[in-house]
Symmetry: C3
Subunit: 133 residues, 3 copies
């Protein structure tokens, strides 16, 4: 069964750490077993990524560099003023597949799972499906 | 079982909406249940992405911006003249994992699933595997 | 069960072909059946991609072009000097999902699976989970 998590962003571009929320869901659903965790963003100007959770300057560097490569204002045809956010969403991707080992997300020491807002502030949702096995 | 879908592109860079085809396969295979839909592109100059299906100017902006960042002609070593297409394929990715809820692809309101041709026109195929659960 | 593969990179940026290793694991675990192969990189400056395995100039072009777009030295805030590697890791992604058909990775003719080192040389590991079905 898909669970939907509500996410509220507060800036135009923002990486929101959702690792704890996902682990809480796993705790409830499969306890100490192994499994797969599927994440899916049902939006066209947001995405997911996994990157460093320790030093917040890493996510700032990612957001800044992306915006230098794909500026907010340019010669875009789409009239809503958010083509850059659509492009970033495609580059980062709408889904992630995580492994679960002994009831824990099998992340690396420095990894956090981020919901990537590229056209906020908005109210978003994230689809999460956890399967044992 | 993997099903293979034939795709014929007509331009060098082209995003082809395959959402309806995938939904048709799901209708036949799992009817009203839940599941996972795995998509895989067995080519090195094509990819998959999920983005806006309503306004076609979004996909034009994505293709145009990608080509500004990664030009067709540059100082590439690969002699086939399609290094840009290989690079775009790696940035967008060869696979997507979609969720199925009550027999429907769990997409957002504005989302469509695109096969991304970066070195067409060509005849391509897409591997689709649907699993109930 | 997750299997961990050890990978030793020898340069700062390097694409290491891991196709054969993954196929060997599949041979042992599911022999001639169908299934899914989940790959996950538990590092924040490395990633995975699928691209051409035949001509090594393709991977050189990918690495070179990425480094032109996202230089090693720039006005980054993160003090460890590897922000470019974090950004490249997010663009390429930490996971891949591959299909298995009759005991073989369902890759295209020219495809190889690469572990992408962006901040080597280092000792890395890759999580691999193979599920029949």
């Amino acid at each position: 069964m898909i669970k939907y998590m509500e996410i509220k962003s507060s800036k135009r571009s923002e990486f929101i750490d959702i690792t704890g929320h996902i682990q809480n869901l796993i705790d409830k659903e499969i306890s100490t077993g192994d499994g797969i965790c599927y994440l899916y963003v049902p939006h066209t100007t947001a995405a997911l990524t996994i990157n460093e959770g320790a030093d917040p300057s890493v996510k700032r560097d990612i957001v800044t560099t992306l915006t230098e490569l794909i500026p907010h204002v340019a010669n875009y045809q789409h009239m809503e003023g958010n083509s850059d956010a659509h492009i970033k969403a495609s580059l980062f991707g709408s889904s992630e597949v995580l492994l679960i080992e002994n009831g824990r997300l099998a992340l690396g020491t420095w990894q956090a799972v981020y919901f990537c807002e590229f056209d906020g502030p908005r109210e978003r949702k994230l689809a999460i499906k956890i399967m044992e096995g």
